[in-house]
């Protein structure tokens, strides 16, 4: 039988198995090799909510999806072309993500009687046969048997040999997608540098998987995916949470002030605290507080002392921080609050994604408490947005809320490394000491500059002693004031100071399409990839649709109103019940339509495209 070689523009693969099957490692190795082959890509891990759910059950299934291609890739893909399942539970949990007629690569050893029963298949049910009958292509491999056979002479125990099963499967996939093995071989040699026997075994399993695919003629087709046209540069793969860690470290190294992170562990934000905890030599101090309130309060204390205070959390934690955010608004100190959103309310779906804290960011505090709000659109974008959030907080002496979500926090994509010399230091407004004859010049802690920004007057500086607090301040002196006109004035000034940040951010650009037309799609945050894909597809079909994606949510870029007014219709897709759409309607008095899903997962490109098509044609 001869094998047909096929070129593919894009492919989505989903790996699934037990938590102990090494699925994430398999996925990340496939990702590295794919990146080195020059494809554009996007990935998303799908961890079980339970730490160690019983082996073989649906609750214990861990997944990893990669979407790669010879064209620009913006999402991890709606549905997959190839589903790799290590056991029956993995098939049960993931068949719904496979395209009709797609390929299932199954480890038959994971489909025994016990496995079927653990996966809650009814007695007598034959899931693989059923899948074949439903039109899927099912490739059965007894991975356990083959791996044990492959490694029988290594002197390793059965337990150790079974840990290489994932490499055997990876070898099969490398053959199927015409990929070289060398990057993974180098990785294995690095990872097991101290255990060469284990490294060799894994490499052998990988090679044997590759050879097995050739020798047994498992597949009738073999695929190749050409390199994508990618902007030249040096790239690495990065998750959103890691990009925030690097963004914060970069601010600390490039600026003259240190950074203090006060945080309390919460899914899906904990990786930021963990990541910065190991960077003690980068000018970042981390503090794991006793609760969310202490976390932000400690950050405020550090900011008072001349560090940039940062706190990281998710929606429920940010709710607890609300009062302290109000304090920071009053104190007019720099503060960055990162909200890695998750599905709510309450505990909600901690490991699933949502964009439902936008209104909380806008309004979720006592009193008139204006803060600046930024959002990141993709894992790689998190670096630049973090840097920007820190810049605004310090240069405008204001709390800045940075919104990301569980999808981009854990999802990964290639990131073009920034040129470090081009990263601008953040410029703090430190007030100078009153000495050398200036001792008698009174210090006014709330005297503002032309942008309404007050000075950063830190303890230890001669002549600057002053008291600040949550009580309303008198203009300029900062003394307690109950004067009605003063409260009116200060309330307006705090708001105007926030609004004036608009003079220091770039104008909004169109991401796709012209500046006027029939339909404008407006997005923010992690929906960028889905919207971009849907709009691109619609435009390829000749539809009159444009797309802009907001990074700056409060204040908005100054030209946003003009852009919105250039279209007959506006569509705002969001993973919530319509929050940005509500704000845009209120702010610009325009009829804005929402496209809203709260399923804990990214928006489906196909569904969104359908909506765009419908609006363009009506």
């Amino acid at each position: 039988m001869s094998i047909i070689e096929k070129q593919k523009k894009e492919v989505t693969i989903r790996f699934a198995g037990d938590s102990g099957d090494g699925i994430q490692l398999t996925g990340s190795q496939f990702t590295s090799t794919t990146a080195l082959s020059g494809n554009d890509l996007s990935t998303f891990p799908d961890y079980p909510a339970e730490i160690r759910a019983p082996a073989g059950t649906v609750a214990g299934v861990s997944g990893f999806q990669i979407h790669f291609g010879s064209k620009a890739i913006h999402t991890p893909g709606d549905l997959c072309d190839v589903l790799v399942v290590m056991n029956a539970a993995a098939l049960k949990a993931n068949l719904k993500f496979l395209k009709p007629g797609g390929i299932i690569i199954a480890n038959t050893d994971g489909f025994g009687k016990k496995d079927l029963s653990l996966a809650k298949f009814a007695p007598g049910e034959t899931p693989m046969k059923d899948a074949k009958n439903s039109g899927y292509i099912v490739i059965e491999i007894d991975v356990t048997k083959m791996t044990r056979e492959s490694l029988k002479d290594t002197g390793l125990t059965i337990k150790e040999i079974d840990r290489s099963k994932n490499m055997f499967v990876l070898g099969v996939l490398y053959w199927l997608f015409s990929r070289p093995l060398d990057s993974t071989i180098q990785f294995l040699n690095r990872k097991f540098a101290k255990k060469p026997q284990i490294a060799e075994a894994n490499i052998k399993a990988l090679n044997d998987g590759f050879t097995y695919a050739i020798a047994t003629e498992l597949f009738s087709e073999r695929y190749s995916v050409d390199a994508a046209p990618i902007e030249p540069g040096t790239y690495r793969n990065i998750t959103g949470n890691d990009a925030i860690v690097l963004g914060i470290a970069a601010v600390a190294r490039k600026s003259e002030f240190p950074v203090f992170l006060g945080s309390y562990p919460i899914t899906p934000a904990s990786e930021i605290l963990q990541g910065l905890s190991v960077l003690k030599n980068f000018g970042v101090t981390t503090y794991q507080a006793e609760d969310e309130i202490a976390a932000i309060s400690s950050a405020i204390g550090a900011s008072f002392g001349g560090s940039l205070g940062i706190t990281t959390s998710s929606g429920p934690g940010v709710a607890l921080k609300g009062e302290a955010i109000g304090l920071a608004v009053m104190l007019e100190l720099p503060l960055v609050i990162v909200n890695v959103q998750r599905a709510g309310p309450s505990t909600g779906l901690p490991t699933k994604t949502e964009q439902s804290d936008l209104l909380q960011a806008f309004y979720g505090r006592a009193g008139e408490a204006p803060v600046a709000i930024l959002s990141a659109s993709s894992p790689a974008d998190c670096f630049e947005v973090t840097y920007e959030a820190c810049r605004i907080a310090v240069e405008h002496m204001i709390p800045v809320m940075l919104l990301t979500d569980g999808f981009i926090a854990n999802g990964a994509e290639p990131w073009k490394l920034p040129v470090i010399s081009e990263l601008k230091p953040v410029d703090p407004r430190f007030e100078k000491a009153r000495d050398n004859g200036q001792e008698d010049t009174p210090f006014l802690p709330y005297k503002r500059d032309e942008n309404l920004v007050r000075p950063w007057a830190i303890p230890g500086t001669k002549g600057l002693v002053h008291r600040i607090g949550g009580l309303e301040k008198e203009h300029e002196t900062g003394n307690i004031s109950y004067d009605p006109d003063n409260h009116q004035k200060m309330t307006e000034m705090r708001e105007k100071k926030r609004d004036m940040i608009a003079n220091f951010i770039p104008d909004q650009k169109m991401d796709e399409g012209s500046d006027t037309g029939k339909l404008l799609v407006v997005g923010w945050g992690s929906t960028y990839g889905s919207i971009k894909s849907a709009v691109s597809e619609a435009r390829e079909e000749g539809l009159d649709v444009s797309f802009l994606h907001l990074r700056y949510l409060n204040p908005f870029p100054k030209n946003l109103g003009t852009l919105l007014n250039g279209f007959e219709k506006i569509l705002v897709p969001e993973i919530n019940r319509g929050q940005l759409s509500r704000i845009l309607r209120e702010r610009f008095l325009l009829p804005v339509e929402g496209f809203n899903r709260v399923r804990g997962v990214p928006l489906m490109v196909s569904e969104l495209k359908e909506k765009i098509t419908q609006l363009c044609k009506s």
Binding site: T234, L279, T285, K462
Partner: protein, 351 residues
């Protein structure tokens, strides 16, 4: 220029005086409030720290006592209810060079801020915490507090409070505090000594101050603070000295195993040599001291101790944090941003 004697042995801050630490803000506590004495004693202490005002920070939460920072000519933050220890922790970790003081009350520290107090104590930051205990909510105008005695009739407990009160020093000790002491507003001389000790201690100093709220809970501590009564109810602890109290040291406390016992030294049965000798380093005995917490307004009851219950030296939190940072820099050098951003694996796309 005269150099003053300082509590921490430093060179001193020239000729600064108590009045140099008073801010220009009008003090607004009720006439006769115990807070006035405490403010005066703290301002008296300040020159003895040997620090310039800009190196001292007072941080407070919410409540009558928490207005305190506004009246000090130092740096200060009037924060939010209960959170002063958390704000102070962030500041002290970021700026170990500063002298940081937390001013709090029984509601602020032990109700809404209870969580932060216990964590501050176990971590042992070098922060001085003054707890103004008046056993009532004053700023909200008279509701029972977590230290109000059972049965106290207030606006929210018209039939008497059924809450069991906290024993603040036992709580602080249980949270592994390293310095625990008690003073009262009505004995400013002793209060000054306690403030000095508080400032001297390296680590979290927890000083509870009995403070009279003249409007909502007047006389709550009068059995211990009134000059006519306190001889027979209050015992002043001194390191290395026997536990004596009463007019002409008529009474003492001895230990019967681990049970404190009141003894009368006038009848010849017991002498000073039989008494419990106070040891500030002894954590176990500090437990017993905090247990002297009964209502002792009736005769024959054990006295209420004042003074330093425990003063134990151990490394401060900020010191440990700074040591880790220094060790990291020594081992790996100042962080190399290029190397960090590059990570373990990169690939290059050519133009």
């Amino acid at each position: 220029m005269s150099t003053q004697k300082t509590v921490n042995g430093s060179q001193g801050n020239g000729n600064l005086q108590a009045k140099d630490f008073a801010s220009d803000q009008e003090v607004r506590w009720c006439p006769g409030c115990g807070d006035y004495t405490i403010l005066k004693q703290v301002q008296t202490l300040m020159p003895k720290l040997g620090l310039d005002p800009e190196n001292i920070v007072f941080i407070a939460g919410i409540g009558c006592s928490s207005r305190f920072p506004y009246y000090m000519n130092t740096f200060g933050i009037h924060g939010i209810h209960g959170r002063a220890p958390a704000i102070a922790t962030g500041l002290k970790v970021a700026r170990p060079d500063l002298s940081v003081w937390v001013i709090t009350g029984d509601g602020d520290a032990l109700s809404i801020g209870g969580n932060h107090i216990i964590h501050l104590l176990r971590r042992n930051l070098d922060i001085n915490l003054l707890l103004f205990n008046n056993e009532i909510y004053g700023l909200t105008k008279g509701q029972y507090s977590p230290t109000s005695p059972k049965g106290l009739v207030t606006k929210t407990s018209p039939a008497g409070s059924v809450d069991n009160p906290f024993n603040p020093l036992a709580l602080a000790l249980g949270a592994n505090g390293s310095f625990i002491a008690r003073a009262m507003d009505r004995d400013p001389k002793h209060l000054q000594i306690m403030l000095e000790r508080t400032a001297q201690h390296s680590g979290t100093s927890f000083l509870e101050i009995y403070q009279n709220c003249i409007v909502f809970n007047d006389g709550a501590f009068s059995p211990y603070t009134d000059k006519s009564l306190r001889d027979n109810t209050s015992l002043y602890l001194e390191d290395g000295q026997p536990l004596l109290f009463g007019a002409n040291d008529a009474f003492g406390v001895r230990l019967d195993g681990y049970r404190p016992e009141l003894v009368d030294l006038r009848n010849g049965k017991w002498s000073k040599d039989d008494l419990w000798i106070h040891d500030e380093q002894d954590r176990n005995k500090a437990w017993l001291l905090t247990s002297l917490f009964d209502d002792n307004t009736t005769e024959g009851k054990l006295p209420r101790p004042f003074g330093v219950f425990l003063a134990e030296e151990r490394p401060t939190y900020e010191e440990l944090v700074r040591n880790q940072i220094a060790a990291s820099i020594e081992r790996r050098g100042e962080g190399d941003l290029e190397e960090l951003l590059t990570g373990e694996e990169t690939w290059t796309v050519k133009g």
